[in-house]
């Protein structure tokens, strides 16, 4: 087991290296650069730009820049944001709360709602409810999230005036109620897709559990339908969901990007877009690495969970 984990970690490190190099090369070789945003400023002559590029080491060969960045990263130094002048980790951390709040809420909604739908779909397999939920899930997965957000803004903000069209809170308010009012729409929009995914997985998972022996035994013992449902089916169907949760982990960074844009939510997604716009390579690279790490970590957790739960899968 330990050996398996170590070898998986080793593989992950190699993957991270590949990812970081490709990412770095794409960013650095592309035309433009972090100084182009100043091109229209008074006094920003070509001479001045060249001087700053030299000071920042941007005129060095890509490979040299890469290893410079990498060697700092290995030492735990993620670099300094060009745009912000603060350490990359600090910049990322300062945008983390907003994204976690949004993603957390959306996840709670989607897990609760999605699991419920999934269980009932499975219990009433073939019913019109099951069929309707299947269609709902597929349509939900087909709607562009940002468009759904626009339509929600159009209806609930512009026409009905019930909810604010954007931001995380009103300046000078910031009460819990205020946060909730701002949170409802983006969280609901984000949750839509996840509800679809969770309900599908939960349905499959429940179907598998229903037909297993212990459920039949429980039924035969004369336990009430409700007890069987709660104790046995739900509990056991949720286990494989951990895998899914592991695979969903990286969404914390990238998943809310467009939703954050539509609702002007001050999180990681917007940080990424802003940083990309300013060619703030250290921050973009930082986000890329953080995100790739989460992907790999999520995969590892998912695989390990499956291995632990299902004795048929051997690790080595």
């Amino acid at each position: 087991m330990l050996r398996y984990i170590l070898s998986r970690l080793g593989q992950s490190l190699i993957l991270l290296l590949i990812v970081s190099f490709i990412g770095f090369a794409v960013l650095t070789l592309a035309p433009g650069g972090p100084l182009s945003q100043f091109a229209l400023s008074p006094g920003m002559t070509q001479e001045q730009i060249d001087k700053i590029a030299t000071q920042m080491g941007l005129d060095r060969p890509v490979v040299v820049q890469y290893f410079d960045w990498l060697s700092h990263l290995v030492m735990g130094d993620w670099g300094i944001s060009y745009r912000d002048g603060q350490s990359v980790l600090h910049v990322i951390a300062s945008h983390l709360f907003a994204t976690l709040l949004l993603m957390g809420t959306a996840t709670v909604i989607s897990v609760t709602l999605g699991s419920t739908i999934g269980i009932f779909s499975a219990l009433k397999r073939g019913s019109s409810f099951d069929y309707a939920m299947t269609v709902f899930a597929m349509v939900a997965l087909s709607i562009p999230t940002f468009w759904f957000g626009l339509i929600a803004i159009y209806i609930f903000s512009l026409n009905l005036g019930w909810l604010p069209a954007g931001n995380m809170y009103s300046v000078g308010d910031g009460s819990l109620l205020d946060y909730i009012r701002h949170l409802i729409m983006p969280a609901a929009v984000l949750a839509l897709v996840d509800v679809a995914i969770w309900s599908r997985y939960m349905r499959t998972s429940t179907l598998t559990v229903i037909n297993q022996d212990f459920v039949r035994t429980a039924r035969a013992k004369g336990l009430t339908r409700r007890r069987v449902l709660l104790r046995h089916i739900v509990g056991n169907s949720l286990v494989p969901m951990i895998t899914l949760a592991g695979l969903q982990l990286p969404m914390v960074l990238g998943g809310a990007l467009v939703t954050e844009t539509v609702f002007t939510w001050p999180g990681m997604g917007r940080l990424f877009l802003d940083s990309l716009g300013y060619s703030d390579y250290p921050v973009v690279m930082g986000l890329l690495m953080a995100s790739a790490m989460l992907v790999l970590l999520g995969n590892l957790i998912a695989d390990l969970t499956v291995a632990l739960i299902d004795p048929r899968i051997r690790l080595d």
Binding site: L15, G23, M138, V139, P144, G254, A292, N299
Partner: protein, 291 residues
């Protein structure tokens, strides 16, 4: 040649799959949605009196139904219906191009690593893993931000983030097939590796490949919309469903049709392809219960 046809259970699968597909209600609904949208996009422009690029500042923001504009006009007074149909041609072309590229690349990578196994597979599948661990939105935007965005580039960029799924599917299919009798027979007949891979093994994985390809079209149309919405995709005046939505947020209050119309088109197209993909999956998978 003879080996191939005798040992391939393809015709049987096809006809049975076809029957199962045709009895799949959602799949048929999907097919109708996609076909009618395609017809509309290719025939529609010829029936409309407006050119998708013609600017008429006197006719800005005409609401749907006024002045002969069935879906209204945009901020430059261009007919939205005409733009929508042309955009559909472009968006769907991007979708199909991505499908072709991603499926081809994925199939080749999958069949090669599945067939040879060992070190070849290890290297190839690690590359697949590397691409998978790039968050696709990040990769898409990072690439698109620095490349002159046209339909071809956008299709290539989306393909770069879409081929891994097919590769994984094909790899596992081929791996399970490579020790079967018909493959052994082919070896004994002295057929080349290339022949065995592409004429014997690949056709047997055709079911899952078709399913994945269909879903790739849906995904590509969505991704194009995402990138273009964020302004990094196909650039005006060339219309695409995504870039018609870019900027629509600004006019949400005064001209909501700018946002509603292209969004509905995207949803119809993507839902259609997803329905078809779902039907195909059930059709090719004999074990599946009617999902």
């Amino acid at each position: 040649m003879t080996t191939a046809s005798t040992n391939t259970p393809l015709p049987f699968i096809r006809s049975r799959a076809l029957r199962r597909f045709l009895s799949h209600k959602l799949a048929l609904v999907g097919l109708v949605m996609v076909l009618s949208l395609t017809v509309a996009c290719f025939v529609g422009p010829h029936l409309l009196p407006y050119d998708e690029l013609h600017i008429d500042l006197m006719a800005r923001f005409a609401s749907p139904g006024t002045g002969g504009h069935i879906f209204g006009t945009d901020p430059l007074g261009r007919d939205i219906a005409a733009r929508l149909f042309h955009a559909g041609q472009i968006s769907m072309a991007v979708g199909f191009a991505v499908m072709l590229i991603a499926t081809s690349v994925g199939s080749v990578v999958g069949v090669v690593s599945g067939y040879y196994g060992g070190k070849v597979a290890a290297v190839l599948m690690r590359i697949v893993d590397a691409f998978l661990s790039f968050p696709s939105v990040f990769l898409l935007l990072a690439l698109a931000a620095f490349i002159q965005p046209g339909p071809v580039m956008i299709a290539l960029i989306i393909s770069a983030t879409s081929w891994m799924e097919v590769a994984r599917i094909v790899e596992s299919e081929v791996k399970s097939l490579r020790n079967q009798d018909f493959v052994q027979a082919a070896h004994m007949l002295g057929l080349s590796n290339r022949w065995i891979m592409f004429r014997e093994l690949l056709p047997n994985a055709i079911g899952p490949i078709i399913v994945a390809a269909t879903l790739t079209v849906a995904r590509a149309i969505l991704l194009e919309a995402y990138i273009s919405f964020l302004g990094y995709g196909i650039q005006p005046p060339l219309p695409s469903w995504g870039n018609m939505l870019n900027g629509a947020q600004q006019y949400l209050a005064s001209a909501p049709w700018l946002a509603i119309v292209p969004g509905v088109a995207i949803t119809i197209a993507v839902t259609g392809f997803n329905f078809i993909g779902d039907g195909l999956r059930d059709a090719f998978d004999s074990r599946s219960d009617a999902l």
